[in-house]
């Protein structure tokens, strides 16, 4: 497993997203604008997605499709997934997080899953 480099923009966005909804679980995808290949992963951007009913399917599907299209337009690729659980004491990945991360890992080697601790 290679090195993961997190850009400032991605970090701040994730943090602010978690800040904006302190009482909800939030999730989102991590993007990279560097081309595929190479050992490490370079996360340059992220897209915050949901802050309610994370395990429900339709909106997640929709959002991921939209992100896909946008990435194609802006020459980025989805390299990971982040989630911040609502509870301070529990930052283990939920089943839905694992599922989405698996899906992403299928498409991209060196995929990253970040669990944000509040």
């Amino acid at each position: 497993m290679g090195e993961v480099e997190l850009s400032c923009l991605a970090y701040v966005k994730m943090y602010l997203h978690a800040c904006l909804f302190p009482r909800c679980s939030v999730n989102g995808v991590l993007l990279s604008s560097t081309p595929a290949g190479g050992s490490g992963t370079d996360v340059t951007d992220c897209v915050p997605l949901l802050h309610s009913h994370l395990p429900l399917a339709p909106i997640t599907q929709l959002a991921l499709t939209q992100v896909d299209v946008w990435c194609a337009q802006t020459q980025q690729r989805i390299v990971g997934y982040y989630q911040a659980n609502a509870s301070v004491s529990d930052s283990s990945p939920t089943p839905c997080a694992l599922k989405i991360a698996d899906k992403i890992a299928e498409q991209c080697s060196n995929a990253v899953m970040l669990m944000v601790r509040r």
Binding site: L16, A18, P22, R23, C24, L50, P58, I59
Partner: protein
Amino acid sequence: MASVSELYDVTWEEMRDKLRKWREDNYRNSEQIVDVGEELINEHASKLGDDIWIIYEQVMVAALDCSRDDLAWSCLQELKRQFPGSHRVKRLAGMRLEALERYEDANKLYEAILQEDPTNTAARKRKIAILKAQGKSTEAIRELNEYLEQFVGDQEAWHELSELYINEHEPRQVNLRLISQWVDLTALKRDGGSGLSPFAPVPGCALKSPSSPIVFEASPEMADSLIQTGCWMTTTEAAKCQTLLEPYPPLSPFVTWNHSLIGFLPKPSYLWSYAALPPFPLISQLLGALSGRQEYGKKIILFVSLFIQHNCLGLRVSGADLWARLLGRLGRKSAASGMLTTRELPQLGSQEKVVALSKTDQEKIASELMMTNPHNHLYCEQYAEVKYTQGGMENLELSRKYFAQALKLNNRNMRALFGLYMSASHIAASPKVSAKVKKDNVKYAAWAATQINRAYQLAGRGTKDAKCSVKAVEEMLESMQITMS
């Protein structure tokens, strides 16, 4: 630091009225409540009279939310002094212990309350919230189910149960939620909004140290830009916020405190914009027709209206016993108000064929949900999402119907629009359906796609980089179309 009254140039009466409004609407804007309430308590206590006690209670809960233990403690002391031995005050003391993560002590307190008064629902709810805060969701679910067997009409509890089930990935059980005793006429004016209520746990650890919480000092512009970049991707989320009539998330009796404290940011104002609900054409027509009939209570009118709506939706009503229960409840209520007797009710019932479904409790209760709370488009849409997640052709069809219903109730609900598009596309794409069903669903999907495109065009007017988002949505819709054929 300038006081609230100086900053906003308000008098103490206005502050008191604002607190009352927040209390009545059950908002969870704790930082504001603490600011305003603290000043009222410190400066204007003598002028408030008897209002002060309820303000102490409100401010105390808000202080727990903001980890202001000093303020919470002083409010609690005042209340204890005035109302010694009161269960309500004991419950507040328990909540403070919970916020300090002293769950065993809190539990003991609630046990004591329940021993003296076994019907005290607030103490039972707090015990369930403790289980939730400790992460024991299965026990919490079990306790909540037991509670709901006794108190079937408690809408907040049903909602909480559904949230717990969703997080446990039990979509089938989610149908159990949202039973409500009866539709309140006020529901016509506002959505419950509880679909978005944060039932999150609270930070116990922060309260242990009285030092100030970590507050991320971000400028409003930064927060705004986050929303701009993030939110067009989740326009559905934003749209859902905008369809909420309430500017703040509601405070539930199940509030817990193990969430983090970061995040007391200045909130971007447009997230809290009010959206005017379009008139429900059917209900308004009906109300118009029946308004002349004085002998019918408002609730009967709603009851009739929801029948007609359900006829349109082709929903089947479940068993006769359910029916009888509802009628009985109706009869009791109207007997109390002297408006209508049960004898006249069967006439309403005969309009709809009662078909006993051989499904499980969940489906029965889901139908009861739709009968008792038909106006809440958020509940409708959330139910549709659950059905979609469950998968399977029947569930997909149901989800499409419910998305359509949600749209009927509020045609600005973007999530429902997208949901309709997706469920219709999936049905049309499935090889097992007949040609006619396929054609119909292609039509629905096409209609939904044009509506979505139109909405994005309208939303994107005026901002340059929205063009990118509009294009992305178009391409996304096209790509989903490709999978259909």
